[in-house]
Amino acid sequence: MPAVSKGDGMRGLAVFISDIRNCKSKEAEIKRINKELANIRSKFKGDKALDGYSKKKYVCKLLFIFLLGHDIDFGHMEAVNLLSSNKYTEKQIDSMDSVKQSAALCLLRLYKASPDLVPMGEWTARVVHLLNDQHMGVVTAAVSLITCLCKKNPDDFKTCISLAVSRLSRIVSSASTDLQDYTYYFVPAPWLSVKLLRLLQCYPPPEDAAVKGRLVECLETVLNKAQEPPKSKKVQHSNAKNAILFETISLIIHYDSEPNLLVRACNQLGQFLQHRETNLRYLALESMCTLASSEFSHEAVKTHIDTVINALKTERDVSVRQRAADLLYAMCDRSNAKQIVSEMLRYLETADYAIREEIVLKVAILAEKYAVDYSWYVDTILNLIRIAGDYVSEEVWYRVLQIVTNRDDVQGYAAKTVFEALQAPACHENMVKVGGYILGEFGNLIAGDPRSSPPVQFSLLHSKFHLCSVATRALLLSTYIKFINLFPETKATIQAVLRAGSQLRNADVELQQRAVEYLTLSSVASTDVLATVLEEMPPFPERESSILAKLKRKKGPGAGSALDDGRRDPSSNDINGGVEPTPSTVSTPSPSADLLGLRAAPPPAAPPASAGAGNLLVDVFDGPAAQPSLGPTPEEAFLSELEPPAPESPMALLADPAPAADPGPEDIGPPIPEADELLNKFVCKNNGVLFENQLLQIGVKSEFRQNLGRMYLFYGNKTSVQFQNFSPTVVHPGDLQTQLAVQTKRVAAQVDGGAQVQQVLNIECLRDFLTPPLLSVRFRYGGAPQALTLKLPVTINKFFQPTEMAAQDFFQRWKQLSLPQQEAQKIFKANHPMDAEVTKAKLLGFGSALLDNVDPNPENFVGAGIIQTKALQVGCLLRLEPNAQAQMYRLTLRTSKEPVSRHLCELLAQQF
């Protein structure tokens, strides 16, 4: 607001403002404003030239309207004219200055909102001239305006450089009290200084030698002052002083042409690295990162490596540690790569989950870029998988395969190392992938050693097979067929594996097809054809590391600075600049070379060189590879379209008698090892947490009535990162489709960090069933695919309806079910303390009624109920006899159906 110093100063403005303030409603205010805008517009457009007073008054009214939050789309030229008018007399300078300030910043706002409204013209020179204004506030506002405008119109404002330099020079060299109210804690005009330094960073170094000399002098003065003892102990003093210092260093780095200043800047930052103020340590690490990419200061930055490593280990604030990791990455070159990589690996073990993936990417990039011998590179990547396997994305392990494939000097070492790594009892699935691929290609290089003979290699890989996801199993199947080629002695064993029902009739179409085709290929193809088809992969074409691209995506521009500019290490463009193809392979580009950026499962070895038989087989192999991406879609469409009808209808559609032809089956992995244990927790209860790990929590709430059930699954994202492609699906193994219908509602494909989504399941029991459905949860977390298979807590006893009956009836029915196959009995040791109340609660939770005064022994429990299914009802009677002395139970179940008796008996026996 422009000040009104006298009662008669711009009376029209005062009246207008009071009018507005007296408006009773928003509508009235808008009406008044529109009236005023029409008035001003006509005045500005009118033929009569306005006098200075009117112009000022109307611009002030516009300003006021603008400040109230209304859009102003005219009047800016009048504001600009006012801004640089010299007509206003000295006695008005005070209020005019404040108009100039506001006008400059309003114009800035207008320009940001709509640059086209502000055409450049002769007024730009007058705006630049404001840098000479005697009022510091005006200069401050003007610098903001120019800094913004000059970015798009550098030539229009070029003259600001010399004015900015002289202004800066005057401020920097002034005594600490010269600027009176613009001195802040003994620092002269810190805001203006920072802004001027910022403005200068929009331009290259001044061309005029005199201007440049003056500027360098300024920068040196700032660096000198940093060494002087502080004039105050207040943090405001040091903050203001250091704000100027950091901006000065930014300008020095921006110019990147004064080695002397760059090294001084680096030394200054080095002092801050050990400062007691966390803020300064943080900023010093950040600034040094950019300094590291200058050829003049790179060496100077490197001298601080120990301090930075120490910061990585000891800083208590995660954001500071992150800066330290960034700086280590930026200062890395061939001389210190091993040290830095090993420190980052060590840090990775305890790093916050949020930054692990980024560290993994950085280590992978540095290890590749600065590898002198590639065995170190292979070791590093395998260490990454070992330490942080979950955070090693596809890009990283694809890259190691590319490099090993392209460099024959490391292939034997890689085979030996992965073989050893796979010996670990629990190794990460990514290790199995890398191991499977490398042994399939280069396992022959270590086959001479009896400790890693072909059968040993095969059984080692196959021991991991069953624990792996579908994608990994698909990869392993390809490894197996390659083994048949590499090691004919394994042929019989592998064919037996491929022939097994679990492969040949696998519910997953990809696995099934691979098994069928590989088995046939190994049986019908001659040794020569096999050798051609399964020849070693050709080298991959040179390309930019996709890891680098990924890191850039993660961190925005500048993140790859250590690699982007090769200028400081001109010798580095030899082996490490990328993997160069050998001349002999250039002529045979592989159609499957695009390993990076493909789906999770690398394609099976495709034959590049073999012209004849090759083409035929390419077709065979291309088919299944393309299918998984098509697979789930039709099925999902079914589910969404068929939501309202009876629960069994989607199941009927999916219950295709020939699963091999069905594009729908989900490629889900086997249930996690603890799935049975988790399921058992829910036999006698309906609500609780089904599963929990570091990423995900799955809660269950369910209710059952007769043969129907409704279940709510709650998926909680425990991280701060969004899950993508989140897809929980329910799968019916074996004959379950005909026994149990589960209709699932769709859930959103994205789950925000910290958020929980709910999925509703409608369940109908069609017949008695023995195995629970599987719940497969798949999603991408930080780019890495996650898959999890659990057993859905739906067991036959959920459809129990309790039945009350008198002792006489009970014994009559008990006797009716006296055929040996109708009874199931189990004697077992108590796993929990034998408490009668707890036992009662469990039996009730199990679903049966508890009948009192039936058993002559009051310690015993007797129950009865009916299992309700759509097709039939199964009556059940049970008797549980605890023996406290022996800590044993005897459980007897009698039902009309033999499998139900046995199954209920097994389920219940695990509860006590």
Partner: protein, 160 residues
């Protein structure tokens, strides 16, 4: 500067100034997220953090957190001192400012901020000049009050 938020230790928002156009929903989301993040930080931690593609600069004064979002090329330390200068202005105007002053005279807190920062840029760093402008605005307001004797006009309690 993109926005400034003032909130209490209990997470109650006391003042918000947005210099970029955002929907109310988005503003609420940002506020909730930042209040949570900042309140979770320990006292000795550094005052800056990376957040989305912005930098957050915050400082606690007694029961109030002052939190600014600045762009990548902006200077963190000088932003800390923008916060401090604003606190000084409030303190001078209200006389030993406390959270209650801002709650009960929030419009004054906004007026002062608007004299100091305009459109997210520092307009006037001189304490004297800002306070003079506020004083004149107060004067103008009193004058219009007398001019119209309007009862519907909401008078501001003078705190000094």
């Amino acid at each position: 500067m993109q926005f400034m938020l003032l909130f209490s230790r209990q997470g109650k928002l006391r003042l918000q100034k947005w210099y970029v156009p955002l929907s109310d929903k988005e503003k609420k989301k940002i506020t909730r997220e930042l209040v949570q993040t900042v309140l979770a930080r320990k006292p000795k931690m550094c005052s800056f953090l990376e957040w989305r593609d912005l930098k957050i600069v915050y400082k606690r004064y007694a029961s109030l957190y002052f939190c600014c979002a600045i762009e990548d090329q902006d200077n963190e330390l000088i932003t800390l001192e923008i916060i401090h200068r604003y606190v000084e202005l409030l303190d001078k105007y209200f006389g030993s400012v406390c959270e209650l002053d801002i709650i009960f005279n929030f419009e004054k807190a906004y007026f002062i901020l608007d004299e100091f920062l305009l459109g997210g840029e520092v307009q006037e760093t001189s304490k004297k000049n800002v306070l003079k402008a506020i004083e004149q605005a107060d004067l103008l307001q009193e004058k219009t009050e007398t001019m119209y004797h309007s009862k519907s006009f909401i008078g501001f309690k003078k705190a000094y």
